[in-house]
């Protein structure tokens, strides 16, 4: 993967982007147990597969979601968080 498509700015070189880790749902800190919170803070899904990830386009300050196969390192699609259907 040398190029990445920013949903706002189109295809740009990978060096303009920063990886933000896997997209994860945060448990409610008021209601979840200490164990659930520790798991949210520390544990990760480390196995390979198609993952939803946060990426950041530096020059334009755009955070977005990329669905990427972490084994083949191929991006399937990118979109702004919450605008998945529009794509």
């Amino acid at each position: 993967m040398k190029l990445l498509e920013c949903p706002i700015n189109g295809i740009r070189p990978l060096s303009e982007f920063t990886y933000g880790g896997e997209y994860r749902d945060m448990p409610n800190p008021d209601t979840c147990s200490d164990k659930e919170w520790a798991a949210y803070v520390h544990y990760r899904n480390g196995a390979p597969g198609v993952k939803k990830e946060w990426w950041y386009h530096g020059p334009s300050g755009t955070w977005f979601i990329a669905e990427r196969d972490t084994m083949a390192d191929k991006v399937i699609r990118t979109y702004i968080a919450g605008q998945e259907e529009a794509k």
Partner: protein
């Protein structure tokens, strides 16, 4: 030995000696199964047999032994870490390495070179002082040195780094060494095999059978094996194995790349590391410069290497050694590093009875090979993790008792 050589002189046949038996089909059951035939897995097998007399052990390797991160690191052995827990642990490993060629009856080319961690900023100097004081407190030979002493040890180094990042000082660690990494795997394999351990290459674990929270066997591409003790020592494949037993870990996989230059006459005696320039370099006994850099910036489960890496690394190498600008890079490769959030390993027991983990070795695994083998063997034999590896237990994450180890290679401070 001379008579042995004479025998070869008189014979026309020169078969290469095998280090371990070439086995294909595992038995139906073993007292313990070790997944992963790298340095760590083979060392654990060896110490299980030697220290505890447990020899009915199978080591299952899906490729060839030492073909994973054991054969992909930059072979540096040192103990100048930041936390007392880390320094104690790696110091025990360095001491074992010093006698390991003798113990395994194989020349590991273990060569003590002295190790300089260069500091280019005041904040890096502060970390070097911190590490030096922790090291001294624990009894490890490390001290902060100035540019003059660095120049004396390595006159070829441009102390100004081409004006880009002048060197202010360094953490000098006298016991820092390099060793031949493949030989470490072969040596442990040879001795484990001699003691009765069975090593199977091209044997992949496809599932782990757990009943009522206890391990009862493993599925492999060569059939089912009954066992109630399984050690996972698979580095970058760890999340795939822990998924088989439904254990959550913080481990994520990023590639770590390295390369070697064409061979040269010996000129670099010491090991040089720069956190700011993301470089570590030493000269191998073959004359090649062995060079590594920082982790790739995002998760990938493959060992592909990239031009970006060589471009970035070599530009920093040329900052340090301008005269190398015409030297060629001849090989580059990557390993899959299994990283933890606190840069310390994950070792010992897990919530599944009989399933032991030796993982989270990120960028710091090779130097820990002997001590991790020894302590994991004790954990498997006694079902109790020794004190030395308690700070690295998996449950530390749930207890919020992390071991913040920023002395790891390629970690910026």
């Amino acid at each position: 030995m001379p008579l042995g050589l004479l025998k070869y002189g008189l014979s026309k046949e020169h078969p290469a000696p095998r280090f371990f038996q070439d086995r294909t089909q595992p038995k139906k059951s073993y007292d313990a199964v070790i997944i992963g035939g790298g340095g760590h897995g083979l060392a654990a097998a060896y110490y299980l047999a030697k220290d505890y007399g447990i020899t009915n052990v199978a080591v299952l390797e899906k490729g060839y032994i030492g073909g994973g991160n054991t054969g992909r690191n930059t072979t540096i052995v040192r103990s100048n870490y930041l936390t007392p827990e880390g320094v104690n642990f790696y110091d025990a490993s360095v001491k074992m390495y010093e006698d390991l060629s003798e113990e395994l009856d194989l020349n590991l080319f273990y060569s003590t070179r002295g190790h300089f961690t260069l500091a280019h900023t005041e904040s890096a100097m502060r970390t070097m002082r911190w590490r030096a004081e922790v090291n001294k407190h624990v009894g490890v030979e490390s001290r902060v040195v100035g540019p003059d002493e660095i120049s004396q040890a390595c006159p070829q180094l441009d102390i100004q780094c081409s004006g880009q990042a002048p060197i202010l000082g360094a953490l000098y660690h006298a016991p820092g060494s390099v060793a031949r990494h493949d030989a470490v795997a072969w040596g442990y394999a040879k001795e484990a095999d001699r003691l009765g351990v069975e090593i199977f290459q091209m044997t992949e674990v496809t599932g782990i059978d757990v009943k009522s929270g206890k391990v009862v066997g493993v599925n492999t591409n060569k059939g089912y094996i009954e066992t109630n003790r399984v050690l996972s020592a698979v580095a970058g494949f760890t999340p795939r194995i822990t998924d088989m037993v439904d254990i959550e870990t913080p481990i994520v996989i990023h590639p770590l790349q390295a390369c070697v230059s064409e061979p040269m006459k010996p000129w670099l005696d010491t090991i040089l590391v720069s956190g700011s320039l993301h470089v570590y370099v030493s000269q191998s006994s073959r004359g090649e410069l062995v060079m590594g850099s920082s982790l790739d910036p995002y998760e990938v489960h493959s060992t592909r290497s990239s031009l970006d890496f060589v471009e970035g690394l070599t530009s920093h190498i040329v900052d340090m050694f301008p005269f190398l600008s015409n030297v060629k890079v001849v090989r580059q490769w990557a390993g899959m590093a299994d990283l933890t959030p606190d840069f310390a390993p994950v070792m010992g027991k897990t919530p599944v009875e009989g399933f032991y983990l030796d993982a989270g070795w990120g960028t710091w695994g090779f130097k820990a090979t002997p001590i991790s083998g020894k302590t994991m063997a004790e954990t498997i034999a006694r079902d109790v993790a020794p004190d030395l590896i308690q700070p690295f237990r998996l449950s530390r994450f749930e207890d919020y008792e992390l071991t913040g180890e920023k002395g790891a290679a390629s970690v910026g401070h």
